[in-house]
């Protein structure tokens, strides 16, 4: 399976600032997914990022708030912009595995104060 390195693992940020989360994969993948998981809740898909095209956002998520870059087949970033305490959550990236299923990063735990 693909190995994902997600950075930072955690951060505490001031409201009104932005944080960029990086997702590095050890193999080339076509599709990458970004999720948000609030404490005790399931994962909510934010967007799907294909290399060379604009990310596709789910209902309730907009590009101005969560801009995504996908410069190549092994890397993607998610920025959480103009943060508020409601953005405190765990953010995860995911890619298609080499056999079955999808591989997830270990997540970025974000706290906005």
């Amino acid at each position: 399976s693909a190995v994902i390195s997600q950075k930072p693992s955690r951060d505490i940020c001031q409201r009104g600032t932005s944080l960029t989360i990086q997702c590095q994969v050890d193999s080339q993948v076509t599709m990458m997914f970004w999720y948000r998981q609030q404490p005790g809740q399931s994962l909510t898909l934010i967007a799907t990022a294909n290399q060379g095209s604009e990310a596709t956002y789910e209902s309730g998520f907009v590009i101005d708030k969560f801009p995504i870059s996908r410069p190549n087949l092994t890397f993607s970033t998610l920025t959480v912009s103009n943060m508020s305490p409601e953005d405190s959550s765990i953010y995860l990236c995911s890619v298609e595995g080499t056999d079955y299923g999808y591989t997830f990063g270990s997540g970025t735990r974000l706290t906005v104060v």
Partner: protein
């Protein structure tokens, strides 16, 4: 409309077999059924995937009836370390796979 429905929580004891059922009444012809396991502070981990009948690997079995409107994840002889949240997803892995998660089932294994 939810794509999958699972029990919110289940309790079990060490050494027992645990069966978690997922309903997916609107499953499409090309959809596969995939189960993930998630421990606290970790991303989900792939457990097993199947299309029909029965699939078995080193950690679990997946039973899918002929109509494919439900599936059952079977964990043999659970241990305390199997305490986790289990998610069932349906989607076509070869064509724009749907990676939206349902609520999941929180399994608690007791000594």
């Amino acid at each position: 409309l939810a794509k999958t429905t699972q029990p919110i929580s289940m309790d079990s004891y060490e050494g027992q077999e645990v069966n978690i059922t997922c309903s997916h009444n609107n499953i499409a012809t090309n959809d596969y059924i995939t189960w993930y396991q998630q421990f606290p502070s970790q991303g989900p981990r792939f457990i097993i995937q199947g299309y029909k009948t029965k699939v078995t690997n080193e950690v679990a079995s997946l039973f899918i009836p002929a109509d494919r409107k439900s599936s059952t994840l079977s964990l043999p002889r659970v241990s305390l370390s199997d305490t986790a949240v289990y998610y069932c997803l349906v989607g076509d892995p070869y064509n724009n796979n749907d990676m939206r998660f349902g609520a999941g089932t929180r399994l608690t294994v007791k000594p």
